[in-house]
């Protein structure tokens, strides 16, 4: 039998609230399972790392037919609909007592998840290191692959 994977390597490429949760939940859970974890934040995933931004990420109703309350694209595109969908989703999350993204981020950093911000997309989007939370590192594809190549489960969101 192959040896158990000891590492979890995640790519977080999207900056909507629903796309931000799985990397944060799985990486913190990996720590609890005595695994190492790393997340490579690239493209819009960098928004998760922006200071004070994690709890402001939105849920987008457009092109999202799986919203619990179905919203037609034409309606979803109206001003205010993203805020409304986000507000509803936040309400449901609070009711289910799901940890906030900021809490999970703190747990991940404190617990030693390697938080790798993608240098290339930071440059593309004009994001400075000072704009990102503390406790992260900046790196590129090789940084992530070097970690992931050593017996890791690899996931992308």
């Amino acid at each position: 039998m192959a040896e158990d994977a000891k590492r979890l390597a995640i790519i977080a490429a999207h900056g909507s609230m629903d796309a931000a949760y799985p990397p944060m939940i799985l990486s913190t859970a990996a720590l609890a399972l005595d695994m190492e974890a790393a997340i490579f934040f690239t493209f819009f995933g960098l928004q998760i790392l922006k200071k004070g931004n994690a709890d402001k990420l939105k849920v987008v109703p457009v092109a999202n037919p799986a919203m619990p309350m179905s919203i037609p694209n034409l309606v979803g595109a109206l001003p205010g609909m993203t805020a409304m969908a986000t507000g509803m989703m936040n309400g449901w999350m609070r009711k289910s007592n799901v940890a906030k993204l900021s809490e999970l981020l703190d747990l991940a950093v404190e617990g030693g998840v390697r938080m790798i911000a993608c240098q290339m997309t930071m440059d593309v989007m004009g994001i400075k290191k000072e704009e990102l939370i503390d406790g992260i590192e900046i790196g590129g594809a090789a940084t992530f692959l070097n970690f992931a190549s050593q017996n890791a489960i690899t996931l992308a969101f």
Binding site: D4, A32, L33, S96, N97
Partner: protein
């Protein structure tokens, strides 16, 4: 079977992944051989505690369900 826990952790009301994160922390604080009683209300916790003990090697001595509560007795093995 009755197990006397050395420590009790109440994760009632908490959603995934908090029960396993808190369980891990609580187990880390125990001595080898001691038993943690963990209480959760998240229905996913039954499957998760089985998986967590399997992966970490700690021993799930007993799990009970009492109404909406899921109660686990976990022995620290290492």
């Amino acid at each position: 079977m009755s197990v006397t826990p050395d420590e009790t952790l109440d994760c009632s009301g908490l959603a995934c992944p908090m029960p396993i994160l808190k369980t891990k922390k609580a187990i880390d604080a125990l001595q080898v051989g001691q038993v943690l009683k963990m209480i959760a209300t998240d229905p996913g916790s039954s499957s998760d505690m089985n998986a967590w003990t399997q992966k970490t090697g700690h021993e799930l001595l007993e799990s009970q369900q009492d109404g909406g509560k899921f109660i686990f007795f976990i022995k620290k093995t290492k």
